[in-house]
């Protein structure tokens, strides 16, 4: 029944072994790092601890900046919240540092939630600007509050106690920091390998793309900002109990900018890039603070000149940072296919011939322009319906009305028995409508398999926390298997583990079809799938769509290419100047005088063009 099953068995059989060169390399490196706090001189151990603490902040920025495409200059301030919360609770109230940590995380989470809610509905640059302002005001608040020690700060913060041992020596403390860093790295890596991680990456493609798969953009952005801020808060807690005193200086906006520099120079898309960047910038800082004042015969923090230039050069010449230059030489592991535990329930498909989508007097007005004016048509299950028309006919607007990108001004649109005229894109997707994009929207750095899995986002449920703890592996397995099945169905199974960015445009379009199919849709909407394709690619696409129709998939296709449409669809709706011009089978449309006039400018049926 499923040709995909053999493919899945084969993919599991060829899973990489437990101990790949990459895993062994990582284990060796981990052993080295474990030995370092015992081997290094004491002062170097402190530097190492600082690097690990800074790396935690930088990883939060990788999540926020590299993955989602937002940024924050206020992460030092979030660190400050974590540090000051624990400092106040442990010195004024004599509570355990182990209470200071969750308290700091809670306070930070709330502040981040508020900042996120206020800014994240607007364009992406409002969040960073807000973080600058909030970082400034928090800095002066720390400095002007007598209860927080003013600009001198709070001293005599107690050490962290583990199993009755107070961690007073820097060597012991280095292990606590290392533990925290490793936990943060694992949580982040798990998150990025999950359903939520793929959705986070999809946010970069703009709100329309992620929303089309049922992702709640706004909520997702607020959540990721909170997590990123809470990492910084954890780092602040570590910092406070490592220094044993806090003052406002390390939590200023300029320090916040430094953390962003670490992530940018290290590699804004990579967890290891953040660690690398933290180590590089911290070491460089030590070294430059020694060298530059001697060179310039003056006192001052001149290293910021070097860092600034370094960041500008990175952005100009290696926008992905320095880590990819190293990563290139490291062995890579193929994604591991998990054994299936359960499958997703399949949607009940309507019987062929029954009405699935009906548009009634749809109207969309932009100011004085009626882009779609009183259009009605029906689509029955099991058919391919083409929506065509000259440029500016209102096809794309119609497409946006049906998919919920842009709701109709008036009229009814019913899909699968539900009125969807005012519903959002995500809600319509959950009713069983999946789409492709006119301008291909894939994640070029991910494999075909992972790109396809994004299509099943709405079928799974695991949230951010479950994903970070890898408690969603059963769902993940089901998604992997479904994605492999659909890749097999469209003929891309052989390339499942290659990067989507390496595909030709025709194959990328087909990959978008596979991604849409993972959602188990009752209706597939294709937005100009043949645009920019070569002849051979069009033939392949056409053959695939016919095969899908024969397998019972209902398709609505908006297209320019007459040849493709006429040979593919069962029925056509022709639009012109926002109105429906004609409707019928391809043969009927060919004979329609009004359609000819719209396309050719003159009606050639009567005066005998032959």
């Amino acid at each position: 029944m499923f040709p995909g099953e053999r493919m899945i068995r084969q993919a599991i059989a060829t899973n990489p072994p437990r101990f790949t060169p990459r895993v062994l390399l990582g284990a060796g490196l981990a052993l080295l790092v474990l030995a370092l706090p015992l081997l290094l001189p004491l002062f170097k151990v402190t530097v190492m601890t600082n690097i690990m603490i800074f790396a935690i902040v930088a990883i939060g920025l990788v999540l926020l900046t590299g993955v989602v495409g937002l940024t924050s200059f206020g992460h030092a301030a979030f660190m400050g919240v974590g540090a000051y919360t624990t400092a106040v609770l442990t010195t004024h109230y004599h509570l355990s540092p182990w209470l200071g940590l969750p308290a700091g995380l809670l306070v930070t989470g709330l502040i981040a939630w508020f900042l996120g809610v206020v800014t994240l509905r607007m364009s992406g640059h409002y969040l960073p600007l807000a973080t600058i302002a909030w970082g400034m005001s928090l800095f002066y608040t720390f400095g002007n509050t007598p209860a927080l020690g003013g600009f001198t700060g709070l001293t005599d913060i107690p050490p962290v106690t583990v199993l009755g041992t107070a961690l007073t020596s820097p060597r012991q403390y280095a292990y606590l920091s290392l533990l925290c860093l490793v936990v943060v790295m694992l949580l982040t890596a798990f998150l990025l390998q999950s359903r939520v991680g793929r959705a986070l990456r999809a946010l970069r493609g703009g709100p329309v793309v992620a929303e089309a798969f049922g992702v709640n953009n706004f909520r997702m952005k607020v959540e990721v900002f909170m997590i990123s801020a809470m990492y910084a808060s954890l780092a602040g807690w570590l910092y406070a109990h490592s220094q044993r005193f806090v003052n406002p200086t390390p939590f200023s906006v300029h320090e916040g900018i430094n953390y962003l520099f670490m992530a940018v120079v290290g590699g804004i898309n990579y967890i290891l890039g953040a660690v690398f960047g933290a180590a590089l910038i911290t070491q460089l800082r030590e070294w430059l603070q020694d060298l530059l004042p001697k060179l310039l015969h003056a006192q001052g923090s001149f290293e910021i000149i070097v860092f600034g230039i370094l960041v500008i050069l990175t952005l100009q010449f290696a926008r992905r940072g320095l880590w990819p230059l190293i990563e290139r030489f490291l062995p890579q592991d193929r994604l591991r296919i998990l054994p299936q535990q359960s499958a997703f329930p399949e949607r009940a498909k309507p019987a062929p011939g029954t009405p699935l989508l009906s548009v009634r007097s749809a109207l969309k007005q932009f100011g004085g322009l009626k882009a779609v004016n009183d259009v009605s048509f029906d689509l029955n299950a099991g058919e391919i319906l083409g929506l065509i028309g000259p440029n500016g006919a209102g096809k794309s607007t119609m497409f946006n009305l049906i998919t919920g990108v842009n709701p109709a001004t008036s009229g009814q649109i019913t899909f699968a028995g539900q009125e969807i005229g005012k519903a959002g894109a995500g809600a319509i997707h959950r009713l069983g409508l999946a789409r492709t994009f006119q301008h291909v929207h894939l994640l070029p750095d991910l494999t075909l398999l992972e790109n396809t899995m994004l299509g099943g986002y709405a079928r799974a449920k695991a949230g951010m926390v479950q994903s970070m703890l890898h408690l969603e592996r059963a769902e993940e397995a089901a998604l992997q298997h479904e994605a492999l099945r659909q890749l097999e169905r469209v003929g891309l199974a052989a390339q499942a583990f290659e990067l989507a960015g390496n595909l030709a445009l025709g194959q990328q379009r087909i990959l978008e079809v596979a991604r849409a199919l993972v959602a188990d849709p009752t209706l597939l909407l294709l937005d100009e799938p043949a645009a920019g394709l070569r002849y051979g690619e069009k033939q392949e696409l056409s053959a695939l769509l016919k095969r899908l129709r024969d397998e019972g998939v209902t398709i609505l296709i908006v297209e320019h290419d007459m040849d493709l449409v006429m040979n593919l669809v069962d029925r056509l709706v022709v639009m012109n100047y926002g109105q429906k011009l004609a409707e019928g089978t391809p043969a009927e449309i060919r004979q329609n005088g009004a359609v000819r006039e719209a396309y050719l400018g003159v009606d050639m049926t009567e005066d005998g063009a032959a």
Binding site: A130, S137, G206, V208, H254, F302, I304, F307, G308
Partner: protein, 349 residues
């Protein structure tokens, strides 16, 4: 409340209006730069610092550090430009660029070296200041932003922050750690009823207003100004009708640097300016710009004046909390903007 005392209120109000006028100029420059080039120009405050410190150096007969900064940037820009020309096979043009850059640099070096110790009249010194500060804008555009022309707003923002760090570090190198004030252009007070206002304050407000009017006419009446507006409305469309993004970027940064330099000379007598004062001043302009949504000039200017007033009243009654109040103000503003902003789907990247 004490601030409403009739002997105090007008003074605070005038102070707030004076600083607010300067913030408004900066807010306008920020909106201009953002709408034409998508650059969120965090380093605008550094130009204010350069304006004040250059004039202060000329006042004491010293060669201003700006000269060094200008020569360094000129050198880097000339080399980058020539490198591009050589790679495009235009060796003679590349050579011209290099020689031209060297000649301009040398002329500046000798001219400023000769003029600085002469302690010229204040007005001439102001002109020299602008001559030194304004070219920094286009040079910075050439060196930092032009290679990033196609980058996202996010990347440009990170570059801006990095540039701010570089410029404030270089300001420390070239100007040293001490702060300076500049002399007021007008001394003496004006009595309006029982209220006394310094003539300098009036001059600042008047000069800002005139500069804004000038900008308005530039954008409404001149071809170049219209070209910039076209770029702000639609970058691709402007390109299609032959408006080069590089040319409009260069011009925009020239205007921004000019506005920054003028602002520095206007605010110089009332604020002790150090190499690192720019960030705070620039950010206050930003709050105004954000009130205008980074697109509306009148809202931005109005917002900036409001920032100046709030700051002035806060500094009297709660001076330690002045910055906290000013920067926390942004949160209700953003909340308000968030509520009035319609959710418009847009394609990024």
């Amino acid at each position: 409340m004490q601030i409403f005392d009739p002997s105090i209120f007008p003074v605070l109000f005038a102070d707030g209006l004076t600083n607010g006028a300067v913030y408004a100029l900066l807010a306008l420059a920020l909106v201009l730069v953002f709408s034409v080039t998508r650059v969120i120009f965090i380093p605008i405050g550094e130009f204010v610092v350069f304006g004040t410190l250059t004039l202060a150096a000329l006042q004491s007969g010293k060669v201003p550090g700006t000269l060094g900064l200008l020569l360094v940037l000129l050198g880097v820009a000339a080399i980058m430009q020539a490198f591009g020309q050589f790679r495009a096979g235009q060796s003679s043009r590349g050579l011209t660029t290099l020689v031209g850059g060297a000649v301009i640099g040398a002329v500046l070096w000798f001219a400023i070296g000769a003029l600085a110790p002469m302690k010229l009249p204040l007005l001439l010194q102001s002109l020299i200041t602008l001559l030194l500060v304004a070219p920094l804008g286009p040079l910075i555009y050439r060196v930092v932003y032009q290679p990033l022309q196609n980058a996202t707003v996010l990347v440009l923002l990170i570059a801006s922050v990095a540039l701010h760090m570089v410029l404030s570090g270089l300001a420390l190198v070239f100007f040293g750690p001490e702060g300076s004030r500049t002399p007021p252009f007008l001394s003496g007070d004006l009595k309006l009823g029982q209220v006394t206002v310094s003539q300098q304050s009036l001059l600042v407000i008047l000069a800002s207003a005139m500069l804004m009017m000038g900008l308005f006419f530039f954008f409404e009446r001149t071809m170049i100004g219209k070209a910039l507006r076209a770029t702000a409305v639609n970058r691709v469309g402007a390109r299609l009708v032959g408006i080069s993004p590089t040319a409009s970027g260069t011009l925009t940064f020239l205007l921004a640097a000019l506005i920054g330099g003028v602002s520095g000379m206007l605010i110089g007598p009332s604020v002790a300016m150090g190499y690192d004062s720019g960030f705070l001043i620039g950010l206050k302009g930003f709050i105004g710009a954000i009130i205008g949504g980074l697109v509306s000039f009148p809202l931005a200017a109005g917002g900036a004046v409001l920032v100046g007033l709030i700051e002035s009243f806060a500094s009297f009654s709660l001076s330690a909390w002045k910055e906290v109040i000013v920067f926390t103000l942004i949160l209700p503003v953003l909340l308000w903007r968030s509520l009035i902003t319609k959710h418009i789907p847009e394609d990024e990247e």
